[in-house]
Subunit: 225 residues, 2 copies
Amino acid sequence: SLELRNTVKEYDGGGETVRALADVDFSVAPGEFVAVVGPSGSGKSTMLNTLGLLDVPTSGTVRVAGRDATTMTDPERTRARREYVGFVFQQFYLIGNLTALENVTLPTVYHDDPDAEERARTLLDRVGLGDRHDHTPDELSGGQKQRVAIARALVNGPDVVLADEPTGNLDRDTGEQVLGEFAQVTERGVGLVAVTHDPQVAEFADRTVRIVDGRLTEASGEAAN
Amino acid sequence: SLELRNTVKEYDGGGETVRALADVDFSVAPGEFVAVVGPSGSGKSTMLNTLGLLDVPTSGTVRVAGRDATTMTDPERTRARREYVGFVFQQFYLIGNLTALENVTLPTVYHDDPDAEERARTLLDRVGLGDRHDHTPDELSGGQKQRVAIARALVNGPDVVLADEPTGNLDRDTGEQVLGEFAQVTERGVGLVAVTHDPQVAEFADRTVRIVDGRLTEASGEAAN
Ligand SMILES: Nc1ncnc2c1ncn2[C@@H]1O[C@H](COP(=O)(O)OP(=O)(O)OP(=O)(O)O)[C@@H](O)[C@H]1O
Ligand SMILES: Nc1ncnc2c1ncn2[C@@H]1O[C@H](COP(=O)(O)OP(=O)(O)OP(=O)(O)O)[C@@H](O)[C@H]1O
Ligand SMILES: [Mg+2]
Ligand SMILES: [Mg+2]
């Protein structure tokens, strides 16, 4: 459902070129849960942003639903992303003056969607925020904000969910609640790629890939570090 | 060095009153490393913000270096905080158009400090960011931003460091590097309170306290959950 082929991503930062992804091949199938692990600064968020069409690779291709996204125009890429991908960002990026409920329904305003609010409320309840629908982000804890971001990623019933450190601000029990939600989602044929430093998340995955200095290796079966 | 006595903190959020801290007694001594654990939403960040004089309690007292901070004026409280506390925020709060180095030296601009830059560079090197001094926050990974925030908290040689989820975006090895830095700091008599979901951090601590629904219990000795 989403694929990287020979993907390279270079940045200019601090006056030098950083090769964040160095010739990466990767794919996630419908219903598959892949964990991505690796040291801080190794390229995990870059990989997710490229897969999720938020960032254009320096070279190589990104395929979404069989089409090459690198040949799309920006509006086409944006449409493909909205239709196809749900994103949980490493730093959440909630809208400050909207409530939790409004933040979760935000991806649904681009089309006619009468049960968006009901779905949003259900998702918020299911990640343990039943009593926080009307709180704004600065009235929420770090982990609560993270859970709002997770609910928002799921509200449009995407085909693939890309989650960057989804349990990073959660205690063990709350993290398990979120993983239970993800398991339900993949059972319905949604693909899930979760970047994580949390061994608990990697355990739930069907396979694990490791990235070091922008290079990918399979780590499936062995304990993720 | 820092103390809470009968501290209560209530918020008005989502149209209701949230009792985030419910009569908390807590103290951290010079050179002591205390871990604070507990479920998402339990009051950990609120406790840290209150201890660090960023937030005024609803009732009860906060004592810093023997003085009652709740009777101070806002400018007095700000001065006490700058002099006494180093803070690592759960969401970093780096300044977007400043480099890593400039972010780390920011707490030093209020007074004459000719070796601030040198200390900042040393700290950045010691948290593994030797090659990222000139990157701005959007040219840094999540874990790299976190490490800049950690270096910034240490640059003024504070008496107490309050760290909210300091290893939340770090892999195991980078996390250990940061904990090594914290160990050096406490050896020099600095107190450290670290809110964490990471058992690795709690292991390093001299004692662990647990907070649930705004209430504190000791959990020293037993495995933190
Ligand atoms: N400004 C506010 N208005 C209303 N409620 C608030 C406000 N700030 C925090 N809260 C609530 O107070 C409680 C404690 O929040 P706090 O941020 O201290 O939790 P936490 O233990 O740090 O959680 P996490 O592990 O998720 O970071 C939460 O239930 C939160 O919803
Ligand atoms: N805009 C940019 N300009 C320059 N370098 C960048 C830029 N964005 C990211 N980088 C660098 O690219 C590398 C990969 O960054 P990325 O955010 O993908 O890492 P990560 O694996 O997600 O790390 P973490 O676990 O800390 O979140 C890092 O070394 C980072 O400094
Ligand atoms: Mg990242
Ligand atoms: Mg918190």
